[in-house]
Symmetry: C3
Subunit: 316 residues, 3 copies
C-alpha cells in the first residue's frame, strides 16, 4: 500500500479490519518491519487522538517517529501554485513535502479544509500536493474531505462489538455552534457503504452530504425513524455541503438523549469520533452512561493505524 | 504504585530516595521493565526540567515517550462539569483523559493552579479528574498544590550532599513580582516534615503556608535567625495563601546574598527548584558561586522520576 | 569533537565529507555508539530541515532525541547578563543551558541573530553562552553568523555531484522582501574557501559580506560574469553587513532564471539551503526543472549531521 487516503485505497476492507483486530491481540510481533524506518507525522491542524494513536501504532511496529507541527515549528507554508511569494508565507508546499520525503519512509499528513471554496477543498489539493511531492507512502491523518483512519477504527469497533451478523448502523447529524468539516461523515459513510451493515444517514434538511460518499445508504430527515432498533448510532455534526459550510439554526432537537434511545433504540451503542462538545452535540448522560463506546472506539485508533502502517511497511 | 501525587503516596520515603541514588549509579539496568510501555507526558503549562528529566528517566528505563502540549497541539480543554459546551472549549477533560489512557501505560500531567479560587485549586480538581478518567497510573508533573517529583529530587540532593546525619534545612521565601503558586513550597514542606532533617520555614508575615503541609516545621518571620547554621537553604517565592494569591510589596530585603550567608550560614548549600529570576529572587553572586547546588539539584530530577516510574512499571 | 560551530572546528574537512558519504551508504552501522546517549535539540527559532534531519541522523546512530522549542514549551529566556530579572523573562540562559546539559550527552542549539546590533550578533553571545554553561558537546543548528551543518551538507552535495576535480562554485545573492541573516552565506563562503573548488561570490554593491568569511574568494558585482561556466550556483539572499541588516531595493533583476542559465551556465546545478520564496528569490521554472538539486541537497543534511554526531559520540 503506497497511499491510504480513502476506502478506495484498500483492496480488501474485511481483511484490513481483521488484521487490525489481530494486532490488538498481538501488538509487538512485527517490530522487525519498522526497524530503522521513520514515520513523520505532519500537522497543519490540532490533533490529540490521531497524534497519539498513530505514534503508538508506529512504536508498536518498531518504527522511529518524528512529529512536526509544521506551521508552528517550521515555516508558514504557501499552498498555492503560481504566486510570487512576497507575502507572509515562507516555504512552498512543493519544497516542504519534497524535503520531508527525504527524511521519512512514510509520512502522515493532517490538513483541514478551509470551508470557503468547495471546489478547492474537494479537490484535496493540499493533501494531494503532499502525496505528489514527498514521493514516499502517505497516510491521511484527516484531509479536507476524509478521515480514513477514523473510519477504519469505527469499522473495527463495530466488527468487535456487534451482536448480529449484519448490524444496523446509523449516522446521525448533531447540533453545533461552529461550521465543521464533512470529512468524518463523508468518510464514515463511504466505509459503511462498503461494509456488511445496514446503513442509514439522518440529518435535517439542508445537510445532505455529497452523493459521492453515500451511495447505498438510506437517507432520511427523520431521526427517530432512522435510529429505530439501531445497533450502532454514530453521532456527528457537519456543516452544509450546499451552500458550502453553512450552519443553520433551529436543530437543537437533534441532540441525542437517553429518552430518545430508550424509546426506539434501547440496545444501541453510541459512537462519536471525538472531540465532542458535551450537551451541545451529545448529552452528558449518554457519554457518561453504559451505551457510549466512544473511549473504546478511540482506543481502536491504534490498531487501525497499525494495520495500515504494517501494510505499508511490507511494501516499502 | 498507581499514583504519585504527594508524599502520602509513598510508603517508604527513605527507600525511594535510596532507589533514586542507586539508579543514578546504574541508570540502564532495568530496560526490560519499560520495553513496549508508553509514558505520555501531558502539559497544560510550560516545562523545561520536568519535561526533559522525565523523558530521560523513561528512556533510561526503555520506555517509549509521547509528549503532548495539549492546549496547543490538541484541543482547548473544558475542565468544568455540568456546562453546555457552546463556548471556546472543544473537548472535555473526561474524554481527553479517557482517550489518553487508551494510548498510555503511565501518564504524567502538569496543571498549574488558577490562583483565583483557593477552594478549587486546593481540591486538585483538574489533576484528580485526569486520574479518575484516564484509568492508568498517573505521575504528577506539578499540580495546583504540589510538585512531588521536584521535592523527591530535592530530598535526594540533600541526602547526597549532607555532611551530618540530621542536617538543618531552611525553606526561605524570596521576593518576586508575580503571584506564584504554593505548589513547590507546600510540597517541599510536606516532604521535609517526613524526612530526617531539622526543618525551618521563614517568610514575611502574611505568607503563611496552608498548615496541612507544614506540620512539624519551625516557622518564623526572621530570616537571619532561620538560616543561622543552616546546612541547606531552599529559596523560593510564593504568593499568599490568605488572601489567596496576594502579593504584598516591601519584602525586597528577603533576597539571599553572600553577605547574609557569610554572616550566619557560611557552610550552607543553596537550593532552588528553577526557573529563578536572577537578582530578584536570588542574587547572581550566589547562583554563580560555589554555594549554589541548583544545577546539580536539577540533574537529580532524572533519578527522582526514574525511581517513581520504575516502581510504577513494577506494578503494572 | 566537542564543538561544531564553524569550519574552524573541523580538523580535516575532506575526511568529514568522506565520512558523511560513507554514512549515506551505510546509515545504521554505528548504533552501538548512540545507545543510551541523548541528543537534545533546542530551538529558539523555527526549523524544518535541521529539526528533522538531525533527529533522523541521531536515530540512525541509535541515540535518544529530546526536542525542545524552548521559548514556547519552556520559559521565556533572559539572554543578557547583569540585569535584574523583573521583566518578562523567566529563566536565564545560564541556568537553562546548565540544566539541559544535565539531561543531555550532546546538545544542538538554534539561535538566530537579532539583526539590530552587529557587534552583539557577531560575538555569538547566545550560542557561546549555551556552550559555556551546558558543559557538554554542542552542535550549532544555525547561530547568529553561521550554519555549519548546512554548509557541510552543501559541500557533501558538491563532492557527490561534481563532474570535474575542481568545480566552479558561485554564491549569488538573490532578492527578498525581508532582512535575512548572513549566517548561510558566511558559512557557505568559509567552507568553500577551505574546499578544493574555484569559488566566486556575486552580489549587488552594498551587500559585501564580512571579510572574515570570504578570504580566498573572487568577489564581483556582476552576476552574469560570475556564473559563467559555473558547475554549481548557490542562490541565497542576505541583508547588508554594513549598514547592518539593511535591505535596499532595485535588485529584482538578480533573481536567477533559465534564460540566464541557458545563456552563460548551461551545465550549472542550482543549490539553495531552503526555505526559498518562489519567484522572488528563485524562479519556479528552475526549482521545478532538472537543474535544481535543492531537494537532494536537503536530503544530504542527514549525512552531514550524522557525520558530526558520530565524531562527537566517539570522543564522549
Amino acid at each position: 500500500m503506497k497511499l491510504f487516503s480513502s476506502v478506495n485505497d484498500v483492496k480488501d476492507v474485511p481483511a484490513l479490519v481483521a488484521r487490525a483486530l489481530q494486532l490488538k491481540q498481538n501488538p509487538y510481533a512485527h517490530q522487525h518491519l519498522g526497524k530503522n524506518k521513520t514515520l513523520s507525522l505532519v500537522f497543519l491542524n490540532p490533533s490529540l487522538r490521531t497524534r497519539m494513536s498513530t505514534q503508538k501504532a508506529a512504536l508498536n511496529l518498531g518504527m522511529n517517529v518524528i512529529v512536526l507541527n509544521i506551521d508552528k515549528e517550521g515555516w508558514a507554508l504557501e499552498l498555492r501554485d503560481n504566486v510570487i511569494m512576497n507575502g507572509t508565507t515562507v516555504e512552498h508546499i512543493r519544497e516542504a513535502a519534497g524535503v520531508m520525503g527525504e527524511y521519512s519512509d512514510i509520512i502522515g499528513v493532517r490538513s483541514f479544509p478551509g470551508l470557503k471554496d468547495r471546489e478547492e477543498d474537494y479537490s484535496e489539493s493540499i493533501f494531494n500536493k503532499f502525496v505528489e511531492f514527498c514521493k514516499v507512502p502517505v497516510v491521511s491523518l484527516e484531509s479536507a474531505t476524509r478521515h480514513p483512519l477514523q473510519s477504519l477504527a469505527d469499522l473495527v469497533t463495530i466488527e468487535e462489538l456487534k451482536t448480529k451478523a449484519r448490524p444496523k448502523v446509523v449516522l446521525t447529524w448533531a447540533p453545533h455552534i461552529k461550521a465543521l468539516p464533512q470529512a468524518v461523515p463523508n468518510s464514515f459513510a463511504e466505509w459503511m457503504c462498503k461494509a456488511d451493515v445496514d446503513f442509514t444517514i439522518a440529518h435535517p434538511a439542508g445537510y445532505e452530504l455529497c452523493a459521492d460518499f453515500t451511495n447505498g445508504a438510506t437517507i432520511t430527515h427523520n431521526q427517530d425513524e432512522a435510529i429505530k432498533d439501531a445497533d450502532f448510532i454514530y453521532v456527528k455534526n457537519w456543516s452544509a455541503y450546499e451552500p458550502y459550510g453553512a450552519v443553520t439554526g433551529g436543530n437543537e432537537g437533534w441532540m441525542l438523549t437517553n429518552a430518545k434511545l430508550d424509546a426506539v433504540a434501547p440496545n444501541a451503542k453510541v459512537m462519536h469520533c471525538l472531540p465532542v462538545r458535551r450537551d451541545l452535540e451529545l448529552s452528558s448522560e449518554i457519554l457518561d452512561g453504559p451505551k457510549s463506546v466512544v473511549i473504546h472506539e478511540a482506543g481502536n485508533r491504534v490498531w487501525a493505524a497499525q494495520a495500515v502502517l504494517k501494510q505499508m511497511l511490507e511494501t516499502l
